[in-house]
Amino acid sequence: MTQDAGRLFELYYTPLVRMLWRRTGDHDRAEELAQETFARAVEAPPTNPRPWLFAVALNLVREDARRASRQGRRLQLLKAESPASAPAADVEFERRERQAVVRAALACLNERDREALLLKAEGFSYDEIATSLGLARGAVGTTLARARKRLVEAYRAGESTRHAAS
């Protein structure tokens, strides 16, 4: 039996928005995509909701990115959310800079590695990641290991460039 939509919303909305936010860097967009995902879940209630929801959401991100690149809308994705209580300007600046480096490092990964990593960070098991991304289960561990390594290496390279430049 499928779980009802309200329950799914309660359980998965927050992690879904977080994952989408990490993926897109745009909070409004993340919420929109999460809501669209849930709307689809209402239309066709999934039997195995968690992998289903995240897989649909990641598909929407991919479609969205394709559309956005056609429309030259990408720049919008780089806009920053204004924090409610602005911390000290220099601290905030430093955080933004670091964040940009992380985002650039994440962008260095191929799509599958990046998605596997984002799902793992949401507590997905190998089986769930395999289901969501259509991977063989045996490939998940290797994919994750490669993704982590690349992310950390790209980040370190980015950080050293940043410090060299400043």
Binding site: A5, E10, L11, Y13, R18, H27, F38, A121, G123, G141
Partner: protein, 384 residues
């Protein structure tokens, strides 16, 4: 055993090895310093990657209460602006805030449109599942039996008086006839957390601790990189599951009861804390074989059991007693405690390797959460 390759170490660190294979590997790591070093290296990589992803999370504007399903039915049909019988409208709490502030955001229309459909579907599913019972009836049956039995643990200290009240201060405006519902479901609530969260400690090669361990001072130096894989919803929570709906409550008394329950104990705190079952002091005492430890002068938000497998360094086969506190910003922090068998010295060594953990007699304690290491260390001194 042969030296494990990096894939195997990663599988182990990801919590994906079977218990038997895991035990084999751990035995090898205990005996082979080179492999233990490689495991530590891989673990550092895992932690670094997790930390980097967490860097991308932003504090959300308009610090608002963690949305909960119980607020979903906070507007009866008669109080709904669109009038009786209007369709259900579901919006994230942040959108409600934005709307109240008169800020037009493009997402509002999209959200409202989508969730007209979602709400209608939800209602349909509800009546399918219940044979037509009112939603309040259904949800009210799921409230936690222990929910109303939790007394305040200790008097609230002036210095941190806001900690516990941080919640009530950010309640959304409650409409008349509010019908909030507390609907904990340990099985499902646990599903929101990682199923693989007992991240093993790679340095299990540490020598066993002496049999009688004096109360150690916990180290918080590494607390920021504690490999807690089930992420709490600290940051994204405010955006989450608050939606308003046009469902009329049935019994006024029931409504009032549920409202009181909701105001006192938001479900989101429980879920974020991964609490599977709320417990009272007596049960905590039974579980621990002694008194519950608390932070002197602070009022606990709730006490509950967390599956041991979700807590790093804990015995995965038994639950951990978790006392949940809230700071002024509504961020949770936790005092975990679990009784340790006197003969499991390995576990004691392991326990002490976890940042923020220490032993008091045969109870392992750990203070952790969304606070600075200094704050945690200060609070740890007040645990008794």
């Amino acid at each position: 055993m042969q030296h494990p390759d990096t894939d195997l170490l990663n599988t182990w660190l990801d919590g994906e090895l079977s218990a038997a294979d895991g035990a084999h590997l751990e035995a090898h790591l205990a005996a082979c310093p080179a492999c233990a070093a490689r495991a530590r290296e891989q673990r550092a990589l895992h932690q670094e990657a997790d930390r980097l992803l967490a860097e991308l999370d932003e504090p959300i504007p308009d610090t608002s209460p963690p949305g909960t399903i119980e607020r979903a039915i906070r507007h009866p049909a008669s109080a709904h602006p669109a009038g009786r019988g209007s369709p259900v409208v579901l919006l994230p709490y942040t959108e409600l805030i934005r709307q109240r502030r008169g800020v037009r955001r493009r997402v509002v229309g999209v959200a409202a449109t989508l969730f007209l459909a979602a709400g209608a579907g939800w209602m349909a599913l509800r009546s399918d599942a219940s044979g037509g019972r009112a939603a309040t009836d259904i949800l009210s049956n799921t409230r936690s039996p222990a929910a109303s039995t939790l007394p305040p643990l200790v008097a609230r200290a002036p210095a941190l008086a806001d900690s516990a009240s941080g919640y009530s201060g950010v309640q959304p405006d409650a409409a008349p006839g509010v019908a909030p519902v507390n609907a904990p479901d340990s099985e499902r609530a646990t599903n929101t957390a990682s199923p693989r969260s007992n991240v093993p400690q790679a340095n299990s090669a540490n020598p066993p601790a002496p049999a009688s361990v004096p109360r150690a001072v916990p180290s918080f130096a590494d607390a920021q990189v504690t490999p807690v894989s089930p992420r709490r919803d600290e940051r994204a929570a405010p955006t989450a599951t608050t939606f308003k709906a046009g469902i009329a409550p049935t019994e006024p008394q029931q409504v009032a009861e549920l409202k009181a329950l909701n105001e006192r104990e938001p479900l989101a705190v429980e879920r974020d804390a991964q609490i599977s079952t709320r417990i009272g002091l007596d049960e905590a005492r039974r579980e621990l074989g002694g008194n519950l430890h608390v932070i002197d002068g602070l009022q606990a938000e709730l006490v509950g059991l967390v599956p041991g497998r979700l807590v790093p360094g804990a015995d995965p086969s038994r639950p951990v007693v978790r006392v949940v506190y809230l700071d002024g910003q509504g961020q949770s922090f936790f005092l975990d405690q679990q009784r340790i068998a006197a003969d499991s010295r390995d576990r004691q060594a392991l326990a002490e390797a976890v940042p923020g953990a220490w032993l008091d007699g045969d109870v392992q304690l750990r203070l952790h959460g969304a606070l600075s290491n200094d704050s945690l260390a200060g609070l740890a001194r007040r645990v008794k």
